[in-house]
């Protein structure tokens, strides 16, 4: 019986695993090799250089800056969209009019091609003619008007605002789906017992969403570690290197600076960090499994 089920399990697992290994794991592993070489990404030849690429990272000031930016980015663009997404999901699952329209509006930014996202926010942030500074000046806050994308101190923050705008729909959608798994009976019983909405949220909704929290937070963390295209499109890593993150810095090295070996080493580091971060998540998921 048990063996038969074991076999059935592999039949279920096989199609996805085969595709996954052929088109993702194998290509990723074969790229890994280049992190130990000085390959330029163009020439037919290269030398193996051992761990030199990894050592070089330690003395690369841009790597340091990128790591700090990644950390800030991870905290802000995980916490804010997840909390906002949760609030939206709970509200839009409750008593509000026009729910379908509201759900559409909060999700729409996630659908847009990044070209347009970068253009739109570039226009909004324009120091002299942008809507944001215009709004600040209109309410008398002239002193707060900034060249948002044009100075090191505000550029990263400015991209994070766009990221939040873009990403709120994702946790919202996952939480909305998860909320359907909580039985309405629980709320009815709580209401009968005289529990307030707030108490219901903390004692029924939040515990009921526990599995969803794991998924949403894990995916958001990974997503924010991988951040690349939004920054590439909005600031191109600039001004100077002020908004470089590991993802963009890897990309510049591999594809634009003809330093494929070094860039791949950066990618390996990103992956290792992301896996380390994900260990608690995978544990939590497999613990229940080991019955």
């Amino acid at each position: 019986m048990r063996r038969r089920e074991g076999l059935a399990a592999w039949v279920f697992a096989a199609p996805a695993l085969i595709v996954y290994f052929v088109f993702l794991v194998y290509p990723a592993l074969s790229s890994l090799w280049f992190s130990f070489t000085d390959w330029d990404g163009l020439s037919p030849g290269y030398n193996t250089v051992g761990l030199d690429n990894y050592k070089d990272m330690a003395s690369d000031p841009v790597v340091r800056q990128a790591a700090v930016n990644n950390l800030i980015w991870a905290v802000v663009t995980v916490v804010v969209p997840v909390v906002l997404g949760l609030v939206l999901a709970v509200v839009l699952n409750g008593k509000v009019r026009g729910k379908p329209v509201l759900r559409l509006i909060f999700y729409t930014p996630a659908v847009l091609p990044l070209v347009s996202v970068a253009s739109i926010w570039g226009w909004l942030y324009n120091p002299q003619y942008g809507a944001i500074n215009a709004a600040l000046r209109a309410v008398g806050l002239d002193s707060l008007a900034q060249p948002w994308l044009g100075q090191d101190s505000t550029a990263l923050g400015a991209t994070m605002v766009a990221a939040i705008w873009l990403r709120v729909g994702f946790p919202m959608l996952l939480y909305l789906a998860a909320l359907q798994g909580i039985s309405p009976d629980l709320y009815e019983a709580a209401t009968v017992d005289g529990a307030s909405r707030w108490q219901q949220f903390w004692h029924i909704t939040m515990p009921g969403l526990k599995p969803a929290h794991y998924v949403v937070i894990a995916l958001s963390v990974i997503d924010s570690f991988k951040v690349f295209d939004l920054i590439y499109a909005m600031t191109y890593g600039g001004p100077g290197t002020a908004t470089q993150v590991m993802g963009t810095w890897m990309y510049f090295n591999v594809f634009q600076y003809n330093q494929a070996g070094y860039g791949t080493a950066i990618a390996v580091v990103i992956t290792v960090v992301a896996v380390a971060v994900s260990i608690p998540y995978v544990r939590s998921q497999t613990k229940e499994h080991a019955i």
Partner: protein, 426 residues
């Protein structure tokens, strides 16, 4: 200009092709590689939708005359960021195009260095290109002495201005010296007008200002030597250029937060009345002024005054290259010769050709014509997003950005630039 703009993700292609080469199944296995009589050609270009059909019509005319079949593929878009990488993929991937269009400088150079592009000296003799093409432009397609491409477009950077803005500020004529330019800037600011609209989101195009300031302070000889690392950057001329650069931002001669602005957004400010002028090429007459429904006569163009005995401006060339492994290089060269005939260039609306007899139409594009007859005939230095490899160019731009924000002093900037160039040349 738009290259290096967004959507450069395709750099991956370069890596892909590199690996293709490593795995051994290299491009030599292309079909039809043998024999010289292949009647099929492939042309790869980055023509956009406004001209691609015109080009295809010209190619068809060539095919009808020669009994060939030529496929034209185009990858329009943000130019150098996407296109060269895709081209590299195709070249190493097994069936590259026979003829491709490309920019000069450090963008075209790798294809010649890697011997993917054929040496065209013999065809220069055969078709007499040397006498038809501007020597300065041919120089831009010559790499280490190898004539690797046939230039047909040469673009020079000048000051394009709004006459209304100048007269509002009481400026009667375009500046003739650098001091006059500064004076004009001051008058414009006093009149509440932003003088020069430039943006530095990708490094360019604000570097067009810096390279000009460097030409002013260093002069042609030293400027050229600096770019190839033959002279140290840690010198007063360079410090002066950085000091002036910072002055432009501090005096509000540039838009607020210029380093963060997308050049595509700010280039047309002089047309929109938000700035007095910009530093750009003749394409702005058709794509800026006339595309906005305005008249050329309300605008003007001047060569940026350098106060040097030899007047130069920055510029770049575009041309065609021939695949070193083309099945029929003779026919490929003949196609190029056909496409750079003045009649063909006119048919595909090329307005900045460097081919004798293909000047811009004086009636339709008076300013472009005026430029081509004056500054356009003068020598130029390579625009600095093409004069240095991408990595060094980006470091150069980062230093410029730090100077504008006051995070690096001009003296330190000169030292740092020397470090960058020294590391590159090592």
């Amino acid at each position: 200009m738009n290259r290096r703009g967004f959507l450069g993700l395709s750099g991956a292609a370069a890596l892909a092709t590199g690996l293709a080469a490593c795995t051994g199944s290299s491009s030599s296995d292309r079909a039809g590689g043998s024999g010289t009589g292949s009647k099929t050609l492939r042309l790869f270009t980055y023509e956009d939708n406004s001209t691609i059909d015109l080009l295809k019509a010209q190619v068809k005319a060539f095919d009808e005359k020669n009994g060939t079949t030529t496929t034209v593929d185009s990858l329009p878009g943000s130019g150098a960021a996407v296109y060269p990488d895709k081209l590299r993929t195709e070249l190493l991937g097994g069936k590259g195009p026979d003829v491709w269009r490309i920019w000069g400088g450090q963008i075209g150079a790798p294809f010649v260095d890697a011997k993917q592009a054929a040496d065209l000296s013999a065809f220069y003799t055969k078709f007499g290109w040397d006498s038809k093409l501007s020597p300065a432009a041919v120089e831009g397609m010559t790499f280490d002495g190898v004539k690797g491409g046939v230039p047909f477009i040469g673009a020079g950077i000048g000051g394009w201005y709004s006459k209304a803005a100048f007269s509002k500020a009481g400026i009667s004529a375009p500046p003739k010296t650098y001091a006059e330019l500064e004076a004009a800037n001051a008058k414009l600011v006093a009149a509440g007008i932003t003088p020069a609209s430039l943006g530095g989101k990708y490094g360019w195009d604000i570097m067009r200002l810096f390279e000009y300031l460097l030409e002013v302070s260093a002069g042609p000889g030293l400027h050229d030597k600096l770019l190839v690392g033959a002279e140290s950057w840690d010198r007063p001329e360079v410090v002066t250029a950085f000091t002036n650069f910072k002055k432009w931002q501090d005096q509000k001669w540039l838009p607020e937060g210029a380093v963060g602005l997308d050049p595509a957004d700010v280039e047309n400010w002089y047309v929109q009345g938000k700035a007095a002028y910009t530093l750009t090429g003749a394409w702005t007459e058709a794509q800026g002024i006339q595309a906005a429904g305005k008249k050329s006569e309300d605008f003007g163009v001047f060569q940026l005054p350098t106060d040097q005995s030899q007047a130069r401006h920055s510029g770049f060339v575009e041309g065609y290259m021939v695949n070193a492994k083309s099945g029929n290089p003779d026919m490929a060269a003949a196609l190029i010769d056909f496409l750079i005939q003045p009649a063909s260039l006119e048919a595909v609306k090329v307005t900045n050709a460097i081919v004798a007899g293909a000047e811009p139409d004086k009636a339709a594009l008076p300013l472009s014509y005026e430029w081509s007859q004056g500054p356009g005939k003068q020598p130029f230095y390579t625009i600095q997003d093409q004069a240095l490899p991408k990595k060094q160019a980006d470091q150069y731009f980062a230093i410029q950005s730090n100077v504008l924000q006051g995070k690096t002093t001009p003296a330190d900037a000169a030292k740092k630039m020397q470090d960058v160039i020294k590391a590159w040349k090592k």
